[in-house]
């Protein structure tokens, strides 16, 4: 009898104090996730726009991120319950995309483009200037760093599609450039103060390249 009992593996989950709850990863039921009504309604409205409700996964995750600052596990479970998909499915989607955060991401987002064209015009210095202004470690900032006060999420970014205003940055989803190192400090101050950021550098206000200074094909950058 004795030699028949095989040496059993220590249940690693128990080991790690993670005794699995059988239903933890299944599609959660709405009444178990207490999803805020407005969030539920927004996600439902999004789902209604598509022939297949699953198409709303990115919009739903955007909604979660807008509400909680990042795609929190609870937020993901709430969205999953509304969409009738597993939380794992949504986390998998969220983690694929650069703009969806699966960890805390501050109140303000500053993305500094460090891709070819911006790099050619001083992006690395700009990123360092922002890192200094926000108090982040410049090396960390290349891949994303939170300022010590947790307010600003600073990250080097691949081409943001604004090489014409290189070097540039996206600040709370709006584009600004061309920026000098000095602009970084100003921008961060304005951000934290809650005022308008670098109005004169905003892309929105910038005329077509060919129309700058009135004359088409004239005027230097």
């Amino acid at each position: 009898m004795e030699e028949l009992v095989p040496e059993l593996p220590v249940d690693p989950a128990v080991d790690k104090g993670r005794v699995p709850d059988r239903s933890s990863a299944e599609i959660p039921e709405l009444h178990d996730v207490d999803c805020p009504d407005d969030l539920r309604e927004e996600i439902e409205e999004r789902m209604s726009r598509y022939p297949d409700r699953k198409s709303a996964s990115i919009p739903a995750l955007w909604a979660v991120q807008r509400r909680y600052g990042w795609c929190t596990p609870d937020g993901i479970r709430q969205a999953a319950a509304v969409m009738r998909v597993t939380p794992a499915y949504l986390e998998s989607v969220a983690s694929f995309y650069d703009l969806l955060h699966t960890s805390p991401a501050g109140e303000h987002r500053v993305h500094v483009c460090t891709n070819i064209s911006c790099w050619m015009r001083g992006a690395d210095d700009l990123l360092e200037a922002f890192a200094e202004a926000a108090g982040c470690d410049p090396h960390e900032a290349r891949h994303g760093a939170l300022s010590p006060d947790g307010k600003v999420f600073l990250s080097g970014f691949e081409c943001l599609g604004a090489c014409d205003i290189a070097p540039m940055a996206s600040i709370d989803e709006r584009y600004f450039g061309p920026l000098e190192a000095a602009d970084a400090a100003t921008a961060i101050e304005q951000l934290v103060a809650g005022g308008e950021v670098l109005p004169e550098k905003s892309l929105e206000r910038r005329p077509l390249a060919g129309d700058r200074n009135g004359a088409r094909g004239g005027g230097d950058a």
């Binding site: 022939p51 709303a56 650069d98 703009l99 891709n115 070819i116 001083g122 081409c159 129309d211």
Partner: protein
């Protein structure tokens, strides 16, 4: 040499964004024509005759692609590719921001030609401003009855949804875009089946770039012949070209296809910065093999000429490098981008981009040998043609070209960077932007 503005005409008028502003310049007349006076097939024919080539990268004839969609009343879809994430490209941003209704009108007309009842604009999540502008414009268009049920009494319906991505270059690849739109991770699909046959939700799907679709209202308004009056025989029409990098006036310039590349770079974009000399440029975005200034400047800016020169027009985005730019570092930046953006689905792209970055980092750190350059070159060869989609090739081609065309510079970097005393001095020699390049991971 001034621009030839068709798509960017009136773009200086901020009011063009609104439906009234757009109508003020005759906007939506083409849509009325297409829905009231033309049969879907006539619209399709006009587009085919125009010879309009895709502006998103592949340069495939737009009308022809639309004609591939099967007839019959299964649900069909149209996707406007507004993911514009290729380094150097920012033309679609301009078109959507300044003239959203031109795009919406183009989509509505193309949808009629293709028999699509549901259309989507897949816009990269970073383009938040442009997304808001589109949302507003789409609402106006619904309001005006240009979208929705029974458009202008034609018994044709069209639902248009602006779908924001969330930051992934790969979603610009048409089949990855479909997966993303279906709510999945943006991984490319096997082709065949091609989207025209089996695309979104398994239905026939037409996928076109923002600029391609923005051309449609003009073709319907003025006719294929008028359109072919611009550009070359194989590259008809005008092109909004994004010029950036080391030039005086980076920006979007709309020109007839086929004009000398020099005019774009040196006249419109103002040429090299003072005291600098042009060295090389990507003629069609970061995915196109770089051309040395001397080989490229006098080529006509057309699909065919760039292809003959062993590169491509791609999305029509020129990135200019001058003598201050270290090509090995540029190669590294390029490789890093594709490594970061590779979806990871197929082996050669996932591991090849990663391997290439690691090798190039050693190169610029001076921890490489010329033998490593051969490995870099051969790894690029091993990627090309073996991947699921062409993202892998999009790194391998330019990086391969750079190692081939600027081998001496690579060897110099290895040698100099390897030499403790030489390194700081050399990097200081190039200006600002270069300094922190390539240090660390």
């Amino acid at each position: 040499m001034p621009e030839t503005r068709v798509l960017l005409e009136h773009a200086e008028d901020a009011n063009l964004r609104t439906i009234d502003g757009y109508r003020g310049y005759g906007g939506y007349a083409s849509l009325e024509k297409a829905y009231r006076q033309m049969e879907p097939d006539e619209v399709l024919k006009e587009l085919e005759d125009s010879g309009l080539r895709g502006r998103g990268g592949a340069g495939f004839a737009m009308g022809k692609k639309a004609s591939f969609l099967p007839r019959g009343d299964m649900p069909k879809y149209l996707c406007c590719n507004a993911d514009e994430s290729e380094p150097g490209a920012f033309k679609d941003r301009e078109l959507m921001q300044r003239n959203p209704h031109q795009l919406i009108e183009g989509i509505a007309i193309a949808a009629r030609a293709a028999g699509a009842g549901h259309a989507f604009i897949f816009i990269r999540g970073e383009y938040d401003l442009q997304g808001d502008i589109l949302d507003a414009a789409v609402a106006e268009a619904y309001e005006a009855g240009y979208l929705g049920k029974d458009i202008l009494g034609s018994h044709c319906d069209l639902e248009l949804v602006v779908h924001r991505g969330a930051g992934a270059y790969i979603c610009g690849e048409e089949t990855a875009l479909l997966d993303a739109l279906e709510g999945k991770r943006g991984n490319p699909r096997l082709k065949p089946p091609f989207p025209a046959v089996q695309g979104l939700y398994g239905g026939p799907t037409l996928i076109n770039n923002v600029e391609t679709l923005s051309n449609v209202p003009h073709i319907v308004a003025k006719g294929a012949e008028w359109f072919k009056g611009f550009g070359t025989e194989q590259s008809p029409g005008t092109k909004v070209v994004s010029v950036s990098g080391r030039v005086k006036r980076p920006g979007n310039y709309e020109v007839e296809l086929g004009i000398p590349t020099r005019e774009l770079i040196c006249d419109l974009a103002g040429g090299p910065l003072d005291g600098c000399e042009l060295k090389a440029f990507y003629p069609g975005g970061s995915s196109s093999p770089v051309l040395k200034a001397e080989e490229g400047l006098d080529l006509p800016y057309s699909f065919e000429a760039m292809a003959e020169a062993g590169s491509m027009l791609g999305s029509g985005s020129i990135i200019v490098a001058d003598d201050t730019v270290s090509i090995p570092h540029m190669a590294l930046r390029t490789a890093r981008f594709y490594h970061h953006e590779s979806c990871g689905k197929c082996t050669p792209c996932r591991e090849g981009t990663n391997w290439t970055v690691k090798m190039l980092e050693r190169v610029v750190r001076g921890e490489a040998t010329p033998m490593d350059l051969d490995i870099v070159a051969s790894v690029q060869e091993n990627i090309i043609g073996n991947c699921l989609c062409v993202l892998g090739d999009s790194m391998a081609m330019p990086v391969g070209a750079m190692v081939r065309k600027f081998r001496d510079e690579f060897e110099a970097v290895i040698a100099e960077a390897g030499d403790e005393t030489a390194e700081p001095e050399r990097i200081a020699a190039v200006q600002g932007p270069m300094e922190s390049v390539g240090v660390g991971p």
